[in-house]
Symmetry: C2
Subunit: 326 residues, 2 copies
């Protein structure tokens, strides 16, 4: 196979050794990885594709950003469960003519983020791809038994909170689609190219049992709020004036709406959570601002409404963020 | 997304409910699955791609066979560790114009095999693929703490055993590549289209602590034996006359060698294991024949030799099975 299978395997082994991860018992270079979870913990498992032309474009996204974003997709799911990541696995299929440098940079971007959380890359698979670069990231995590933050616990009367600011990633993507040049390391652009998984924040909420439900914002507020409402069998009011909107990139100052991106833009990887009215949710958790943006209501059709400054409600349709399309 | 994401998600939920899997705590429809392993067990995790044009062809392989083979790749890895499978996860990317029937048959083939082992499909991801059908199967398993069968335990003097017969899958593939029509359900052809993961056999070995090392035969005996020798830092002798060779398909009676397929053909998903000379390995385990085919020797270059009926040794090169190529 014209694939750096040996290189990648060797790198995974070196990195796994360096991580000295307590959870990793054996099995690097074996038929499967062998992990040991702490006693009385539940196991979390999430898998997420990153496919060229669907989730990224090689002409827009530097390879290290693709690797970073690939791993963030999994880490953010673990954060939304209140989990502590244990080990990651990467399945990577690349076309035969993909430059070796691209693969190196991709793996570097992924491993640098992993190292920040002392997360071992414990295995995976490699293959030639007949077409697009295709990565599937698997992240395993752990929570003390029975403490995972689910989507299904929101109750009418609960407050709705969101972390950070919304719409930054979609704003940058929109500028890229318009053909604007965006430096990936510019401060505002990093929200798109190098988003931050809210792991410390998720663990904080889990340890204090303060959240009644939680979900990460990968598809956009309107869509992900819809998932939470479906799983909890409730409706929601969102106060338009309370939404923490990210400033738009310079190139989009005209003809684009920060509110639209905040409501429907995907890939912010912030957390959306609910908490009982009496729960004391601080204004910052793990250095990230947390804002109350609405409340849970009873609604058997699981609808959400946007409430404007005149207290007028309009239906908040699910934006259906679908990444970009070729 | 023009993908049956909802259908697939709904099917996964129904199947997960039906499986009533004790290990599955919550989280279907959540940011990640939540699993509970039995106390004092280690976790096994393996991931394997099945990519159109690399691992299967739609014109050769019926969709249900592709789904079956996809899951077998993961289950066979768990079997080689002596593991009991706990839950599977499927990441599936399909082109927009793929017929819905194909996806249904693929999922049916996978779920039928899963149901035989009471294995829940506990999550995954779906996406549009800009090219080939791409599936990544993740299988998690469990073993009592410290009992996983590794590749690294073989010692000089140990006997080498193999389960079942070798070369059947490669024989069928070779016939397909020659343009022969092969009925997928014919008895001899099932070894290629619907191979059997040796899970009961692996668990039997694990419970009795009889194997010093174990690996599954996915790449072919010569290659996988090489992996085992590398991990154990040993060499090997294989007795040519002892190899259990599968009969060749009718179409290959001339001009093809059953020995060649048995040595180098991939995807048999049998187990190769080593055991101390005094260990009593029965002739059948879990209804599968087990044959002694060689012995482990000291060799710092980790080489393997084929020994013929005149006791002559020749080097057994690693066959480098690479599936087929377009």
């Amino acid at each position: 196979v014209p694939l750096p299978e040996t290189d990648l395997t060797a790198r995974i082994r070196r990195q796994a050794r360096k991580a000295r991860a307590k959870a990793l018992v054996a099995g690097i270079g074996d038929d499967s990885a062998v992990l040991r979870l702490p006693e009385r913990h539940d196991l979390l498992v999430t898998t997420d594709f990153s496919i060229e032309g669907v989730h990224f474009r090689r002409e827009w996204h530097p390879a290290d950003s693709v690797g970073h974003r690939c791993l963030v997709r999994g880490l953010s799911d673990i954060a939304a469960m209140g989990g502590t990541p244990v080990a990651a696995f990467l399945s990577l299929a690349v076309p035969a003519d993909l430059p070796q440098d691209w693969i190196d940079d991709f793996v570097n971007g992924l491993l640098e983020l992993a190292a920040r959380f002392k997360l071992p890359l414990a295995g995976g698979d490699t293959s030639e791809s007949p077409g697009a670069v295709t990565a599937d990231i698997i992240v395993t995590g752990a929570v003390p038994r029975g403490t995972a933050l689910l989507r299904s616990g929101a109750r009418p009367g609960d407050s709705i909170y969101v972390t950070g600011e919304l719409g930054a990633s979609a704003g940058v993507l929109h500028a890229l689609m318009r053909g604007e040049q965006i430096a990936p390391n510019a401060k505002a652009a990093r929200r798109h190219f190098y988003p931050e998984p809210r792991l410390a924040l998720g663990e904080w909420l889990r340890d204090r049992k303060l959240a009644s439900a939680c979900i990460d914002l990968s598809d956009g507020l309107s869509t992900d709020l819809g998932h939470l409402c479906d799983e909890s069998a409730v409706g929601a009011l969102i106060y338009e004036h309370s939404l923490p909107r990210a400033p738009l990139p310079e190139a989009l100052r005209f003809g684009a709406s920060a509110l639209h991106f905040a409501l429907h833009g995907g890939e912010d990887y912030e957390l959306l959570l609910t908490a009982a009215p009496k729960a004391k949710i601080p204004e910052r958790i793990a250095k990230v601002p947390v804002r109350r943006i609405g409340e849970v209501i009873a609604d058997k059709n699981h609808r959400a409404w946007l409430v404007d400054s005149h207290s007028q409600r309009k239906p908040l349709g699910r934006g259906g963020w679908e990444h970009f399309r070729e």
